[in-house]
Assembly symmetry: C2
Homo-oligomer: 439 residues x 2
């Protein structure tokens, strides 16, 4: 889906009708017991296993077509679903079934007055819309997250993965047919028109989850009024403070850049305090170059051995590759200002042994994740212990940062009375107790 100057077209009557069916099925699904939803996810896993050969054959056909079309190697790699990847995805479903139920959790419990009791309880969102590129295993993951949390889903994969997605969806539907969840809670969209129409399904779709390139995410954010869970950019920084342990800082910096440079939580810029730069940078430059990292520095970094000059664009570029911009800063405040101007509010870290500098950094940097003396690569739902990851959000409002199943639930207030009316409180006949009850 490429950038388009014109707004998306209105959804077709046929798409509206299909979305309404998903919504209706989702409402029924949302009222099922935990055990029903667990069983449904396990049935999806079994059906995927039973359809293993068909799915891998369909993926091979997609790969053959991609090869004939001359698809970029990186895209082909993401499209490729070998037996191990598929088995991993199936194992992921079994783990998901075992996670604690995100629904029906009481978050608030208050007696407003004798016999008038308020509860706030988690409930599913309703229907999520998912648009992803290439990776067919993302379809398995998101469809199962939706079912586990009581939500329906409209799923749109990339054209290049159409055969894989069709085979996977056939298996997921077959699995749901052996459960109490209606298979119509999941719907596969296949055309670009449907994908654009999905963005206009306000009232039928509660959340859009894009899984793909920064361009895809930005296009979706710009063309829908439905809330979008995701992030376009991941420009993460590591600050090496004057009070940093140089060895610790280098170890963290290397991991944050090189452990998986394509990840959104890898760093793009290293900000080095002027006081430590002359001792830290020469060793760091050697280590990064040995690790195959291309370095781009400001004037001071160049003077200390970085060979290539950074341009203004480098400070706000997400390389997603073994490239690192390095800037020497006069003090912590300059580092904070740089992050404020160029960061994407994803994850930023500092290495320091100075408690005051650490506190200042953790309080002042307004990113979803602020880290001390560890790698930005920990910004991930699994690493945070959520068991599953719906996405990572860089928006200000919750859910923010890595989002687990809680990103697919909302809450509802339930108030139970015995004929209570507001007029009695307005007149002073009765008054509120507002007494907290056990959760």
């Amino acid at each position: 889906m490429s950038q388009s100057p014109s707004p998306p077209p209105e959804p077709s009557a046929e798409l509206l009708q299909r979305a309404a069916i998903v919504r209706r099925s989702a409402m029924a699904l949302g009222q099922l017991a935990d055990a029903d939803r667990q069983a449904a996810v396990l049935a999806m896993a079994e059906a995927l296993e039973a359809a293993r050969a068909e799915i891998l054959a369909a993926n091979q056909a997609d790969l053959d077509a991609a090869s004939a079309d001359g698809l970029a190697a990186a895209l082909v790699a993401r499209l490729h679903l070998n037996g191990a990847k598929l088995d991993g995805a199936i194992e992921g479903l079994r783990q998901l079934a075992g996670l604690a139920d995100p629904l029906g959790r009481r978050q608030l419990h208050t007696e407003l007055d004798a016999g008038l009791v308020l509860e706030r309880v988690t409930v599913p969102l309703g229907v999520v819309g998912v648009i992803f590129e290439a990776r067919p295993d993302a379809l398995i993951q998101i469809a199962s997250l939706a079912i586990r949390s009581g939500n329906g889903a409209l799923l749109k994969g990339g054209r290049e993965a159409s055969r894989s997605c069709a085979a996977i969806m056939a298996a997921l539907w077959a699995g749901l047919a052996h459960s109490t969840v209606e298979p119509t809670a999941l719907e596969l969209l296949t055309s670009r028109e449907e994908s654009l129409g999905l963005l206009k399904l306000d009232g039928l779709v509660d959340l859009i989850i894009p899984r793909g390139s920064n361009e895809l995410v930005r296009f979706i954010q710009d063309h829908t009024r439905i809330p979008v869970l995701g992030h376009a950019d991941g420009i993460c920084h590591l600050v090496v403070d004057q009070a940093a342990d140089p060895q610790l800082a280098l170890r963290v910096a290397l991991d944050a850049k090189t452990q998986y440079p394509a990840a959104c939580n890898a760093i793009e810029t290293l900000l080095v305090h002027r006081a430590i730069a002359p001792t830290f940078l020469p060793a760091a430059i050697a280590a990064f170059e040995a690790a195959g990292v291309e370095l781009r520095g400001d004037a001071e970094a160049l003077a200390l051995g970085v060979s290539q000059a950074a341009s203004e664009a480098d400070w706000h570029t997400e390389y997603g590759d073994l490239i690192l911009a390095i800037k020497v800063v006069a003090d912590l405040e300059e580092a904070l200002e740089h992050i404020r101007r160029h960061g994407s509010r994803h994850t930023d870290a500092i290495c320091t042994s100075d408690a005051a500098a650490a506190d200042r950094f953790l309080a002042a940097v307004d990113s979803a994740g602020v880290y001390l003396n560890c790698s930005t690569r920990f910004a991930d739902g699994f690493r945070y212990g959520f068991g599953a990851e719906v996405g990572i959000s860089t928006q200000t409002l919750p859910p923010r940062g890595p989002v687990g199943l809680e990103g697919l639930v909302t809450y509802r207030y339930r108030l139970r009375g015995e004929g209570h009316i507001a007029a009695d409180y307005a007149s002073g006949t009765r008054s509120f107790t507002h007494r907290s009850l056990p959760l």
Copy 2:
């Protein structure tokens, strides 16, 4: 601000600069201690008291101009700020200062591994944009909510209240000047151009809060990418089940319609189970008519004594007045379907003594508030015990329903390590403990 076919213009350079100043002041404010923010709110209250005469005089000038312009009576009533209203608003500030700090609350605390500890802590949103009509006391309320929760605010009042708003803001700034909060954390917008520009301040404004007519809210929702906290419609239903206690149901229905019909949480439609309609409706019709309520019924309700026929439009109209639509339904499922089709997901209630019917209603109705045997008029932040109300949201995602100070905060993840790197976990050298720590 009326409906406009063209998108809002880009914000002027001057507005961008003013918004950037607010944002910078807000960042400093957000790092102040609770006591500083409490003191700032109390200083605002004192300054309002000191400027009482000027504010009331400015309001009188607005009222004179409104009278000369022939402003609608309802708008004039909302514009009017008498001494009692102002004193009430000032007292509200003192109460707000005493509420528990919404910032710095630890929501999650997990040891990821020995020496690697994750926290999720509440932090301010940053800057809120507020657009309100007429009521100058709303300016006092929202400005103080923002400061209490560590947020900056760009505030735009209606043209009709311009003198009142200027006098109030002068007092608020004077109050903040006697505190540790920079007065530039609050900014008053005055022109329609600024108001439209505010809608385009993505990246500088984190949340828009509209306070005004349904049309105002809908216009704002349609013309900004910034999240909007609010609701356009409040079409609330009360279902009188076959197993309802007729006297209890009538008492609740009368309160829900007549206690304050202009409120968004008043009911617009009464859905009566066919089995109870012949006994319930005649008495209800008499009681509603005695209370001055105009009734509009479907064919069955007409047959039971309602004198005026309801049109299709009545089922999705928010009267905000002493008018009630009445429909007789065959069963609970028909009532649920009616609410699903016509409701605005605000607050819906059922009166019944049948536990199964109550459970079905509370599970199946997807509204922010679902009530049993009590009036919909309880849907309110103060009545819920939140101490303050930022607004009521009918969106699916949290915050939903009446929103207190928590609607002005978000959270941030803090991860503190001792040189921990992701590669050690990928290689299996180390593994996560994911141990919950006390909050």
